[in-house]
């Protein structure tokens, strides 16, 4: 009987072992766990986009704790009924990105753009990274819808990327979102070399006129006129731009402060937590580590570089037509890619390296917020043409 008990306990331990992650783990889970740990330490040590990298990084850990899927335990992100799956619906259905845009609208001051409307064009030029990535993705054999979803990484805007890929290529949401957020965090590493390469020493010292103070009425008018102008031409950018301008009107109207405050604090925070965590958790090693994912990462990096190129070069092009005193410092061209506000900060940093009193931040912000609008329009175009 003593033997019977031990046989029994033995079988129990086997049974128990089958429940643990050790029975299900493979190298890809471990690789992804390392990626998650890397994201978390990047956020904590280097302070790169911590509001995104901490949730995504921890989400990667959550998503890569393997278990017995056949047991119907309802705990994995791809199992219906699990809490992660419920929260993931907001990503899969493209529900979170417009809410994030609502919050961003409620916290963004468009004064810099209103003060110098011509800088808006830098935000247009940098979208070339998107369309170059679209061509490259086609060339690498992706279907047009997939190519469109991948291309949007070049928009340097996480919510836009998630929104568009949820519509065009839901199977690629994970790698596209991870690529977009990773490169957004790495903007301070990616952009400066390109900026230095394309500018002359003289150009880097160009001083721009300080922005004027923008009266309240213009700020109120902006979200209203902005909505009508952009969405009448490209109605498919409505979900993103509609919410962005709505949030901005809540902020600027002056009579709905409490709504604006909630939109830019609790609401956006809750959505950020859920979005980051589930995007991270969607990267289960066994479905995430694929050749396609690697191609997507490569295309993403290329599109960021190309977008920076186009932004800086277009600033130089605009200078050909600008009178003396109205020249644009091409070091703000990179900010057109969006990646708010990191790319604007990069402009400021690089600018200060060459002239300690030349503050480019405000001008770069104008290009920066235009880049957000520009890539939301580009997303609308891809959605229109590829649906």
């Amino acid at each position: 009987m003593g033997l019977g008990i031990f046989e029994f306990i033995y079988s129990q331990l086997i049974e128990f072992f089958g429940y643990t992650s050790f029975a299900h783990v493979d190298w890809r889970h471990l690789v992804m766990i390392c990626v998650g740990l890397f994201f978390i330490s990047l956020a904590i040590v280097k302070h790169f986009e911590p509001l995104l990298l901490i949730p995504i990084g921890f989400g990667i850990l959550l998503g890569n704790i393997p278990f017995d899927l056949s047991a119907n335990l309802n705990i994995g992100i791809y199992e219906e009924g699990s809490v992660l799956n419920m929260l993931y619906q907001g990503v899969e259905r493209g529900f979170y990105p417009p809410l994030i845009f609502l919050g961003i609208g409620a916290m963004t001051d468009f004064s810099s753009l209103l003060s110098k409307p011509k800088l808006v064009l830098l935000g247009a030029a940098a979208q070339f990274g998107i369309f170059a990535a679209y061509s490259s993705a086609l060339f690498l054999g992706f279907a047009p819808e997939e190519a469109g979803a991948i291309a949007i990484i070049g928009g340097a805007d996480g919510p836009t990327a998630i929104f568009l890929s949820s519509k065009l290529a839901p199977e690629f949401i994970g790698p596209i979102a991870i690529a977009a957020y990773s490169y957004m965090a790495l903007v301070p590493v990616i952009q400066p070399p390109v900026m230095r390469l394309l500018t002359t020493p003289k150009e880097r010292l160009i001083r721009m006129k300080p922005p004027r103070a923008v009266p309240k009425q213009e700020k109120i008018l902006f979200p209203i006129a902005g909505l009508l102008l952009t969405t009448f031409i490209m109605p498919t950018s409505l979900p993103l731009l509609g919410m962005l301008f709505f949030g901005n009107l809540l902020k600027e109207s002056g009579v709905t402060n409490r709504l604006a405050e909630t939109a830019r604090s609790s609401l956006i925070d809750i959505v950020t937590i859920f979005l980051g965590l589930t995007v991270g958790a969607s990267t289960q090693g066994d479905v995430f580590i694929t050749p396609d994912s690697m191609l997507i990462f490569g295309l993403g990096a290329a599109s960021f570089v190309i977008a920076t190129f186009s932004g800086v070069l277009f600033a130089k092009l605009m200078n050909l037509f600008a009178s003396e005193g109205n020249k644009i410092n091409p070091l703000i061209g990179n900010a057109g890619v969006s990646a708010v506000p990191d790319s604007a900060r990069v402009s400021q940093h690089v600018g200060l390296e060459y002239d300690k009193t030349n503050h480019l931040l405000m001008h770069a912000m104008a290009a920066n917020v235009s880049g957000v609008i520009g890539s939301a329009i580009a997303a609308g175009i891809l959605l229109s043409f590829l649906t």
């Binding site: 001051d109 060339f139 009425q217 175009i381």
Partner: protein, 154 residues
């Protein structure tokens, strides 16, 4: 050749074009745009059109509203709001023309120092920037410097 351009423009401006069903969108691009060149041209074109429109409208707006809007506003608003209007506009004109004084530069530097050292998320920067922008009208700088910053840090 020009015929087509004009017809196309004409169609863009008149509203009687029958909208083509977009269902065929993907198929169309599969067949006609294997390298993405068409998408690039159309896409960049549309992005530029929309943002050019924004540029044009908001280049014109300030002039427009400084004449018309004010009158319309003053006819609508009571005497109380006149005070507000002055409070808003007084700082505008000098700050546009004046060069950056040393004092203002210092304020910018301080604000930038702040965001470099501790602020790492979207909101904070945007708020910092909006504060910097407001410090261009010097007498508001103290309020923002003292009252708002600590509240945003918590």
């Amino acid at each position: 050749m020009n015929r087509f351009i004009f017809t196309a423009l004409g169609l863009l401006l008149t509203a009687n074009a029958s909208a083509t069903s977009s269902q065929e969108g993907v198929d169309f691009f599969v067949q006609n745009d294997p390298y993405g060149a068409l998408m690039a041209i159309l896409g960049m074109g549309i992005v530029f059109i929309v943002l050019l429109l924004l540029f044009l409208v908001f280049s014109v707006t300030p002039k427009f509203y400084q004449k018309e809007f004010k009158e319309w506003g003053s006819s609508l608003l009571s005497k109380k709001s006149k005070k507000e209007k002055y409070a808003i506009e007084k700082p505008v004109i000098p700050s546009v023309n004046s060069d950056l004084s040393g004092e203002v530069n210092a304020a910018i530097a301080a604000a930038i120092y702040l965001y470099q050292s501790e602020m790492h998320d979207y909101e904070n920067t945007v708020l910092t920037i909006s504060k910097v922008s407001r410090t261009y009208s010097p007498w508001s700088s103290k309020i923002y410097g003292l009252r708002k910053v600590p509240r945003e840090h918590q």
